[in-house]
């Protein structure tokens, strides 16, 4: 049974965002890490980069494939998780904790309404 925390917003493409004021923390879901298995490399956006919601801005590589990660929200990247770059397995072991990808200064809070609730995400992945 996959873990879907109730305090997060989700994108159809399996990213999550944890919002605190105007700052969001972004990562990939437990379901996504389970599907990818064995994350061996994480490539994160440059700090300061402006991204749009739905824009590919990070790459996560398993043994088998490279997968794009799409930003669930628009804004400016303010911090990236170097620990996940140094130890990509964190994405598998702590997808909602130590395996986060980046922090973003949200430019449009209204976008959050386009994201999925935990219940909707759960339904989308057929759980």
């Amino acid at each position: 049974m996959t873990n879907i925390p109730s305090d997060l917003k989700y994108a159809k493409s399996h990213e999550w965002v944890r919002v605190n004021g105007h700052t969001g923390v972004v990562g990939i879901t437990d379901h996504a890490q389970h599907e990818l298995t064995d994350v061996v490399f994480v490539e994160l956006p440059a700090v300061g980069r402006q991204v749009k919601a739905g824009e590919a801005c990070a790459v996560v590589e398993s043994v088998k494939t490279a997968s794009d990660i799409y930003s669930p929200v628009s804004g400016q990247i303010v911090e990236v998780n170097k620990a996940a770059v140094d130890n990509p397995a964190l994405v598998n072991t702590e997808p909602y904790g130590g395996g986060w990808f980046y922090k973003i200064q949200l430019s449009n809070l209204a976008e959050l309404n386009n994201l999925l609730s935990p219940e909707s995400y759960k339904a989308q992945i057929g759980q």
């Binding site: 298995t37 061996v40 490399f41 088998k64």
Partner: protein, 381 residues
């Protein structure tokens, strides 16, 4: 509609993640590629290889026909022995790479790639029809009649006799399956049915491949039962690919196709130029003598980087760096913990130790050409 092997339900029951491969619906992994890879390197792994093709070539002229159709010398094969070989077109391009076993003096079993069954059978059938062999050679595509599994890893010899019980009366006569030597094949009984067991594989580890007309599900289940205490895990195509890439074994469609020759692919060892004429010989002999314009090399990433992948560009290094070739296989090596791969480059870049760059998403990451195989088993002191 994708084809399914007799083990399809077994894969579903084991939680296998299914993907398309060569027209078949096959498990890519059950738990994780990393786990399954390590199981094969340290203990044992079980693979469904039922998608592979089986062709029987028989008749008084079978040996002559095969020696004129394949690159290696089948005359070297005593009954019960197998060899790796390639089937080329007139340009020396590879139609398929395969394993051939001599079952008896006038009968051979060919294990061919799933994606090439139609091409191989058509090529051989046409050559028989148009050549001087007439009714003295019979090509039988038995692919639909066979299921097959590979059981691979250093501990397999400890439990194989618990599944394949008893002796082989031929073509290799042994008291028990574990007495088969590398590349030997015997006929054994399983539930009173005759099955083929060969000491071969595609992982770089010791192991066996079992080809059986009917009992493959029962053989799979029995192997899982007797092998589990030794660490046996079911393994998917993902681990099969990382294992063979570490060993630099070619995969048809990546290292090999009709536009690459065995010499260019670095498989000259399996081309017997001295055996007499065979299809492609003229081109291959010329390449051997005068050299090739591209060569398949193995490489390792030298820094921490994203893993190389098929189709990534290969660049020379330095001030006048240019695009020199492309990656054909690439992955993270589970055994070495770094990116590894194979690719085609001009021969002046093929020497082990040559620095190259791999273009990953527009950025160049340093790599070095290495000797094949990329992975060597640690020697036990």
């Amino acid at each position: 509609m994708l084809k399914r092997t007799p083990l399809f339900e077994a894969h579903q029951k084991l939680g296998g993640k299914l993907i398309e491969f060569g027209g078949w619906e096959m498990p890519v992994q059950y738990t994780s590629i990393m786990d399954e890879h390590q199981a094969v390197r340290t203990a044992a792994g079980l693979f469904d290889i039922s998608h592979m093709g089986e062709v029987v070539v028989s008749g008084p002229q079978a040996e002559t026909f095969l020696n004129q159709t394949l690159t290696n010398d089948v005359r070297e094969l005593a009954a019960g022995r197998g060899q790796y070989t390639l089937m080329c077109n007139e340009r020396g391009g590879v139609i398929d790479d395969l394993y051939i076993f001599r079952l008896m003096r006038t009968e051979f079993l060919l294990i061919i790639n799933a994606s090439r069954i139609n091409q191989d059978v058509e090529w051989m059938t046409q050559r028989v029809a148009s050549g001087p062999y007439a009714s003295d050679v019979k090509v039988t595509n038995a692919s639909d009649r066979f299921g097959a599994v590979a059981v691979q890893g250093p501990r397999v010899k400890e439990f194989i006799n618990g599944c394949i019980v008893g002796y082989s009366a031929g073509p290799t006569e042994v008291d028990q399956a574990s007495d088969l030597q590398k590349n030997e094949l015997g006929l054994f009984n399983f539930n009173r049915m005759v099955i083929y067991v060969a000491r071969t594989g595609y992982t770089g580890e010791d192991g066996f491949e079992v080809f059986a007309p009917l009992q493959i599900v029962a053989i799979w289940n029995k192997l899982l039962e007797v092998g589990r205490p030794f660490g046996l895990k079911p393994c998917g195509l993902g681990a099969r690919d990382t294992l063979r890439t570490e060993m630099c074994y070619p995969l048809y469609g990546q290292e090999l196709d009709e536009h690459a020759t065995p010499i260019e692919a670095g498989l000259g060892f399996f081309v017997a130029l001295d055996k007499g004429d065979f299809v492609g010989r003229t081109v291959l002999a010329e390449q051997k003598e005068k050299g090739v314009s591209k060569k398949c090399v193995a490489f390792k990433m030298t820094d921490k980087s994203a893993p190389p992948r098929p189709h990534y560009g290969i660049w020379s290094t330095g001030a006048d760096a240019k695009h020199i070739g492309g990656v054909v296989s690439g992955t993270q090596s589970p055994s070495l913990g770094i990116g590894i791969g194979m690719g085609y480059v001009p021969p002046q870049f093929a020497k082990p130790g040559t620095a190259i760059d791999i273009e990953i998403r527009g950025k160049r990451a340093p790599a070095v050409v290495v000797q094949k195989p990329i992975y060597r088993k640690p020697t036990r002191g």
